[in-house]
Amino acid sequence: MNRVPAWLLAFLLSWTVTAQAAGTASGTLISNTVLLQCDLCGPGGTPSNTASFVVDNKVNVTVAESDGAATPVVAGQPAAVTRFTVTNNGNAVQDYALAVANVASGASLFGGTDNFDASACFARVESGAVPGFDPTDSESFIDELAPDASRTAYVACSIPAGLSANDQAIVSLVATTLAGTAPGVQGAVVMQDSANDPATVQVVFADDAGSDDAVRDGIYSARDAYRVGALLSLSKSVTHVQDPFGCSAPSGCRIVPGAMLTYRIDVVASGSGTLDDLVLSDPIPANMSYVPGSLIVDGVPRTDAADTDLADFGVSQPNTVTVSPGSVSAPLTSWFSFRATIN
């Protein structure tokens, strides 16, 4: 007896499972021939004609926002990223065009209301090379997505300056079904055929209405929100002057060469949320010199070296005081100070 090779069996099994989940593949020929037997029909009976048709191209795409929550941003953030998943629920390989739209003010999402627009928005497709949004994710359309398969897509937008905590911008990622012609080639937008032809594959829209599109249009969309979480404000002041003439006081001394000034920078993170990768840097002004060992953060002296105390002078950046607290949660108040002399 001839045995079916294990690899073939595995292939057939996996193929069957895929076919069941996605539905019968577009272009499959479904044929039917009836056999009639009777007393006078001969030993083989009488076959009918063969009634056949091809399975059409079911187009059904969905877009889902990834985390069910607003994306925290800060005012002035250059590339705020949100993540979506695009899924092909149809029965043929398709491409998808991605577009980003700002939703009109007044719309609500995740407990917030849209009151500003994000700017310079664009969509990119996860390349799979590095997890998360990064420069390798350079494609703006989804290429050759198989039935039942999903792909991660990102929306990146700039957040304007001058916003308040809890201000919110809602954006919509819109995926439009394209023909899956060939790898690396962006297919044309698919249109629903009106002609009645059982012998050719026709496009049939079967998608639901998304957040910003209609039912059965080959398009699907989903929304995410950018919410201004923590707001950072900085204020810098001279808190003490010691002049060469013996005066040493918060004010009233002379600002002349040889005078030593104490600078204080107050940091306030208001609102809520987290500020990631926070780095505060203050270059020493021209014609002034940093006083070595004068760096203090929240009342605690810090070394000038780049070490575990998260503050340095002249190492992270030349001739600059750098304080790197990293990730901080709002609300937060903090300060740092240093001294510099006038040359």
Binding site: G23, I30, N32, S48, T50, V55
Partner: protein, 163 residues
């Protein structure tokens, strides 16, 4: 042209036409199959269901298969059985087989044995036996009761859903 050459040629021609006639004569009953879909259309302000040739067929679409048969000869035809495999990539829709003056049976083993739904069982992967479901059917058979009279015709049908 000599007669010696002509005779074999004529014989071949005669043989061919005889074969053709024989094949034609074997068709005591004509049998036709159509695959259709039901669509809702508005006619004179009323919604009506119409059957049209298969147009937009996607996974989940329901197809109506209709077989018509007609007695072509000058005497009644008995023992008519119509066998229709459930088409590839489709599943039989439970309870959809119809046929006036016929007994309807089903097969779950590729057409080897036929029985009424209540008597059909299938083996599970664990080796147990369970009642067969409509989705297990591989073939449908309509057995015509009595004889199909001279000039008479009949019709049987079922519905299948594209997987």
């Amino acid at each position: 042209m000599s007669n010696r050459r002509l005779i074999p040629a004529l014989c071949t021609l005669l043989l061919a036409s005889t074969l053709h006639l024989n094949a034609y004569a074997a068709d005591a009953v004509e049998v036709k199959s159509v695959a259709e879909q039901e669509v809702e259309v508005v006619e004179k302000g009323k919604k009506v269901i119409k059957r049209v040739p298969v147009d937009k067929a996607v996974p989940g679409s329901e197809i109506v298969y209709t077989t018509t048969f007609r007695n072509l000869i000058s005497k009644p035809v008995g023992n008519i059985a119509i066998t229709n495999p459930v088409p590839n990539d489709t599943v039989y829709k439970n309870g959809s087989a119809l046929g006036a003056n016929t007994a309807i049976t089903f097969s779950v083993d590729g057409g080897k044995q036929y029985a009424t739904p209540d008597k059909l069982t299938v083996k599970t992967p664990e080796g147990k036996t369970r009642p067969a479901l409509a989705s297990d059917y591989s073939h449908i058979r309509w057995t015509y009761k009595g004889e199909l009279g001279v000039g008479k015709s009949g019709e049987v049908s079922f519905r299948a859903v594209i997987k």
